[in-house]
């Protein structure tokens, strides 16, 4: 998929390809501004059409393929076969309606169920996402629920129509740590129960380690590294991935200063040609002015760097 905003010469999302198999959790990681959320929004067809252009791309869900350039995702697909949960549970529910009505609305919209059927289904969903006393909670307003509960409600709403794909945009960022763990457990349990594919966007590698089967590292709107989570964690190959890993605090190294990746993501107008990471990369060389291709360096493990695998090109001192 490639996508750019009007009036910009560079693609915001450039040749990004993601795959999540049934029952699999794919995590997209990267720092702020690297195109994670925009990719997800484009998949959902939620980007404003007047300001964004999808120049190529398609989406395959099960057997069906959708051309994202011609038409945004048909509305009937949204919420029924592909669903999304958001970062901010505090503001993602309509404050003017009871949560039961909101869940029912999602159900009725896609299944044509009657109101009592939808209500029963909503109650069932609340039960499944671990909300105690669901028959009573249905009649509560969002402001009466805690952040964790609201995120559970969001998940219930997203999953009410048994989607095949769930996109979760930093679902735990706004929650405190114990609730985070509960929500991750919940997503994992639901994934096991429904065999849905989950695409989780996060910048928290702890979350990735906890839940992911596979990981996609994005930088500047491009995929820089992709592979099974164990493989990428044990053997990160792209300099950016290595930077991210070493910036993670470790309990075994108390008091140690965290490593950082110097600088920030360039704005889209200032993206360097060739490898987009080269302005911040410790290994950058003349060849980096050429765009690196995503090549497989180990089974399933793809890296977009001229120097991959690193061991063959650079003497790595650890």
């Amino acid at each position: 998929m490639a996508l750019r905003f009007r009036g910009q010469s560079n693609d915001v999302v450039d040749h990004v390809s993601l795959e999540a198999k049934s029952g699999e959790v794919l995590c997209i990681v990267g720092e702020s501004g690297c195109g994670k959320s925009v990719t997800a929004m484009a998949l959902m067809g939620l980007l404003p059409q007047e300001s964004s252009i999808i120049s190529s791309g398609n989406l395959r869900v099960g057997e069906d393929i959708f051309d994202l350039t011609r038409d945004t995702l048909p509305r009937v697909m949204r919420g029924s076969r592909i669903a999304m949960i958001f970062q901010e549970p505090m503001t993602s529910l309509n404050p003017a309606f009871r949560i039961g009505d909101q869940i029912c609305e999602a159900i009725i919209q896609h299944s044509g169920a009657t109101r009592p059927e939808a209500r029963a289904r909503a109650e069932d969903m609340l039960q499944r996402v671990g909300i105690a006393n669901p028959s009573q909670r249905l009649f509560e307003y969002p402001h009466q629920l805690s952040g964790g509960m609201r995120q559970r409600v969001m998940i219930a709403m997203a999953l009410a129509n048994d989607p095949q794909v769930l996109i979760a945009d930093e679902p735990t960022t706004a929650l405190d740590v114990t609730i985070q763990a509960q929500i991750l457990d919940l997503i994992r349990d639901l994934r096991d129960a429904t065999r849905m594919s989950t695409i989780m966007i996060t910048h928290d590698l702890g979350v990735v380690a906890e839940i992911a089967d596979r990981i996609t590292v994005m930088y500047g709107g491009q995929v820089v590294e992709q592979g099974p989570v164990r493989e990428v964690f044990d053997n990160p190959q792209h300099p950016y991935t290595i930077g991210l890993m070493s910036a993670m605090p470790g309990l075994d190294r108390p008091g140690e200063r965290l490593a950082i990746v110097p600088g920030t993501v360039p704005t889209i107008a200032n993206m360097p040609k060739g490898c987009r990471f080269r302005t911040r990369c410790a290994f950058a060389a003349a060849t980096c002015a050429q765009r690196p291709t995503l090549s497989e360096i180990a089974p399933q493990h793809h890296v977009a760097c001229h120097f991959a695998p690193l061991e063959e090109h650079i003497e790595v001192t650890r």
Binding site: M44, L46, R78, F86, S92, N94, P95, A96, E105
Partner: protein, 295 residues
């Protein structure tokens, strides 16, 4: 949430307690000036509605033996220049004034709010067209526009209400559009789209209820303005037509007799003052009660 903390255990069902309507009502009740405003409004509405059954003389019945009589036991508020009972005319006139206020604001809300929602939500050309028309209307002073429209359509109470309604519409378009611009960026609107709800449903269920509170407040305040506008139009002979009474037309005739019969001007003047005060206080109270930041 401070409410539940400061109050003793609620006697009512906790589910009912927390409904936004109830929280708002509770807050509204503790707002003294709003309650006074509400009482004034309710009082005027009550006498307007009860006009046909109140034991008062026919407001159009003339009595040449009792011209411009000062307030007395027989005519509590005196009589006018052709012997009609001022109190009867005042009470029947309340119907015209309140109807003018409510109907014209109803017209303004009916047209202004949907146009504002469409302009704010869709943006682009739709917004440009609606907004430029709105600004053109707003460029003309409210009362001048109403007078021009009423004069164009011909003098009658109905036309006056329509004229005032049209003149007040741009206020609601602008207010609604601004609110929609901020509400449509809210996460819950995004998530409604992610659920796959069709646009009309998003507009009616997600946008509209959340832009409603400021519109309600603006509506009560505009009713006050509309009542004055109706009085002004009637005063100019463009509103309620004789012999049917309205406060504005009563003032219109009373101005000729300010020295001889000041009560003719005093009562309708006071009535306008109090009903407008009532609606303003009510609007202020509603604004405070509906303000989400203070929950």
């Amino acid at each position: 949430m401070t409410q539940t903390a400061t109050q003793a255990p609620a006697p009512n069902d906790p589910l009912l307690e927390a409904r936004p309507e109830n929280r708002v009502w509770k807050k509204f009740r503790s707002h003294k000036s709003a309650m006074v405003g509400g009482a004034l409004v309710v009082f005027f509405i009550a006498i307007a509605l009860a006009a046909p059954i109140l034991p008062i003389p026919d407001p159009a019945a003339t009595d040449w033996g009792a011209v411009r009589k000062a307030p007395s036991g027989e005519n509590w508020m005196g009589t006018d220049e052709i012997g009609r009972d001022v109190m009867a005319r005042l009470i029947w006139g309340a119907q015209a004034s309140l109807a003018a206020g409510v109907v014209s604001v109803g017209i303004a809300v009916l047209f202004g709010v949907p146009l504002g929602i469409v302009a704010g939500y869709f943006g682009g050309w739709t917004d440009a067209v609606i907004s430029r028309c709105t600004e053109a209307l707003l460029a003309v002073p409210f009362l001048i526009l109403a007078i021009a429209l009423a004069a164009f359509m011909g003098p009658s109470l109905t036309n006056a209400m329509i004229a005032i309604g049209i003149s007040a519409t741009p206020i609601f378009i602008r207010l609604t559009r601004g609110q929609v611009l901020s509400i449509k960026e809210e996460d819950y609107v995004e998530s409604a789209r992610a659920i796959g709800l069709p646009t009309p449903k998003i507009l009616s269920r997600y946008i509209f209820p959340n832009v409603l509170p400021p519109i309600l407040v603006q509506a009560t305040l505009t009713i006050a303005t509309a009542i004055i506008a109706e009085a002004s139009l009637s005063f100019l002979g463009l509103g309620q037509q004789p012999p049917a009474p309205s406060w504005g037309s009563m003032l219109n005739t009373a101005k000729n007799f300010l020295n001889q019969a000041p009560w003719m001007a005093m009562w309708p003047g006071l009535s306008i003052f109090f009903v407008v005060l009532g609606f303003n206080l009510l609007g202020d109270g509603l604004r405070d009660a509906l303000d989400p930041r203070e929950h």
